[in-house]
Amino acid sequence: MADLDFSAHRQAVHLTDEDIARHKRFVGLEAADLPRIAAVRPIVMERVDELTTMFFDFLRGLDVATPLFRRGDLLDEAKRMKREHLIAMVGGVYDRAYVELQLELGLLYSKVGLDTRVFPGAFYHLMNTVGAIVMANAGDDPQKAFQNFMAVKKIGFLDIGLMIDIMAAEREQTISIQQEAIRELSTPVLQIRDGLLILPIIGTLDSFRAKQLTDSLLRAIRANRAKMVVMDITGVAAVDSRVANHLIQTVAASRLMGATVIVTGLSGDVAQALVSLGVDLGTLNTVGDLQGGLELAERRLGYRIARQADSSLETA
């Protein structure tokens, strides 16, 4: 999985203003928190380098985090961004720019393949340290210091929420890109002669895949100037009325482009079942097996076939 580089296809993970507002609501961040955070700011600023180092020391101790420490260049980048992030955390402004910074950091982590699960732990550790520092500097009002720290903690949770969103979206994207690649591989449209394409369909045919398959077939018809297509459905897992209707649509769309589709591999039993379900197979050109379908297609294209065609192929 890690060997495939899909980064070129990747779109930026998108978090909207609504998403940001929702995250703030989740952690109960309110206006009253801002002066409290401001009070903590000088304390954190004074120790920002120390806190950054500590955060990465904590990560270093976890073996799931080793991918990050193997990449010297990215590690420095991550440290720089983390430092910037710590400053922003107590900066009092939690807008898009703040989220962008998180996003960048999140992308960097996911680029090295860091496990999402290390973050809550690392964050918890960081927050504890910040808490200890704040309380140590509480002076004569520990109650107030505690309140201030709780406000900062909300930002900590806001960050975790955002980070999880980002990484989940990233992962989802990776999965969908990979699925797409697999799908494409599994529906090859092959030209076997001038003007003749063969489309062997294998596996399950849901409506998304049917759409994709039709799309690539139509493009192939144009690119190859195909006039006949043999669509072999022997390998389709379960041909029910939904699948059949998808196939009928694919055939109809091909026809609009001037190509005739011959469907092969539809067994008599299945055909009968479909008809009894009310599927109109009348518009389909069907031939029992792939070989027969190819021979019929070649004949229609005007190719002469050496072997004498057997009469059962005339059913189309």
Partner: protein, 123 residues
């Protein structure tokens, strides 16, 4: 703006240049039906490759053209439906059953030369 109709031997060729308004299409239908009459054309090719969409109105009108020209002894071939357009037409529920279709102008001319029947794109 009307759609120019060219004559090539016994074939009339109308190439739609741009996104069409309904009036343009109606105009095309009327122009073609009169020209088929006096030019004694045996075939009509409508090239729709520049069309951005084929909605139910356009489809119905093109079918109408095929019917009218047939009554006047000419066969109509619609060529150049783009993959995206074909895909959207099918999802909408449209078809051109009974009308010959082809990939492009060459295919259209070949279909008229062969005298293809209208129920399959080819053969």
């Amino acid at each position: 703006m009307g759609i120019p109709i060219l004559k090539l031997g016994h074939v009339l060729i109308a190439s739609i240049q741009d996104a069409l308004t309904d009036n343009d299409l109606i105009q095309l239908r009327d122009d073609l039906s009169s020209q088929v009459g006096w030019s004694r054309a045996t075939g009509v090719i409508i090239d729709v490759s520049a069309l951005d969409v084929m909605d139910s109105f356009a489809t119905r009108t093109l079918r109408g053209i095929a019917d009218i020209t047939k009554l006047r002894g000419a066969k109509t071939v619609i060529v150049g439906i783009q993959p995206d357009v074909a895909f959207a037409m099918i999802q909408l529920g449209l078809d051109l059953d009974g009308v010959t279709t082809g990939l492009d102008l060459d295919e259209g001319l070949a279909a008229i030369g062969r005298g293809d029947r209208g129920d399959a794109g080819h053969g």
